[in-house]
Amino acid sequence: MEVMNSLKDIWFEYDLTINLLSSAAAVYVSIIAAYFITVFSLKSILLKESIVRKAVDKLNVFFNYFPYLLAGLILIFIFPASELTEYIFLVLYASFFLIAKSLNPDRVKEEYILAAKSFGLNEKEIVSQTLIKSIQPVIIKDIQELHIKIWTLLIAFELFKEGLGFGLVFKATLENSDFAAFIFISIILLCIISAGGAIIRYTHKKFFPWEL
């Protein structure tokens, strides 16, 4: 009973409901938005050697030397207390991550393109009716990888920002040297990540069960 009371205290002391909702919403809204942005952009990017494709390739090289978090810190520097900054940062990061991965040429199955061409589909139809469909399971697998990365990035990002978020709670527990709260919040975070991961796996199995 005492343990329950003390957990309840931690919950209210650190205002976990709102902080948790804020971070979880940022992560999952960003992932969903990035998924749609990816699918939508791939339809035009895959069609030809477009400027976007070249830009993605160049940015990919750039981010080999420039930590993503630094881009987030620049945003915090400009808009220190804006919750929108967090969403913009995460959506950009997640979309870039998924698009860059999806442009890997190994992911395009030549046999589906040849079959589709042979049936007289035009380029636009080939992309929308075969290519995008065929890489859906891979995008979901990428989202599984992205999921943990985006949580890590978010916590780190929130350590520096003002306002709401799980990272701020972690920061507060560290500043208060509140080890019990730190462990409790970590366990909650692990539970959320596990539940999110399970939903992503379920989505893969239920809606995109085929292999590339």
């Binding site: 199955k109 030549e110 046999e111 589906y112 040849l114 079959a115 061409k117 042979s118 049936f119 007289g120 075969t130 469909k133 065929s134 859906q136 995109f208 069960p209 085929w210 292999e211």
Partner: protein, 248 residues
Amino acid sequence: MNEIKSQHIKISNLKKEVKNNIGFTEVLINDLTVDIELEPKNITAILVPQGGAEMAKLIAGLEVINAGKIELNGADKVIYIPRKPSSFPWLNVENNIRFVLDRSSINEEEKTNKIKFLLELTGLDDYEKHFPDNKSLGFRFRISLARALAAAPEIILMDNSLDGMERQTKGEAYSLLKSIAKKVNSHLIYSTNNISEAVTLSKNVFVFGKKPLEYCGQIDLDGISAHEGRINKVAEVINGNNLSGFKI
């Protein structure tokens, strides 16, 4: 069923070059001229060594040629079945066939009847709701074949599509293809580098030799019943009996 007409594929002065991985131009075909006569109700085999030009893709118009021409003698629909499974794994068997039928002008009732007919023809009846998301190459090939037939093409070009199948599955696919060739109005062409496969499937084999691809001749295997004898006959035609690039 309308009577099937004999068909020709006329290849004239064909040239095909590719850039290799160090940037040099490699001539795969140089000035190739050949008239491939397709026998109605029989499979025609094209025997091409591995590592050379992909004749099936060229005939299907899926690769650009550098010079010359390929005439299909009025055939305006050629369906190509690639070597690797190409049935769409996100569609079930029925919808794979429907994918093609939806692009035609036939009504729903005709579509349903055609799907039923094709499922029976390819031995897929009772599997219409199954998804091709499995490792069975035979199953996936049957779907690709049913889907190709749905387009009612003049020519179906199979590009070594039975490669990688287990022996028993392959045997079943041979029988299926032979029986389908007798029942449909499409000409079936099987392109392979496997001599044994070519002579098993066809009595009418067109043999091509090593790089740059050259035409070695047409072999009529009618009257030669022994498998070994058929293989030997083909081997004799291949230039200098050089069987590199071919499987037996």
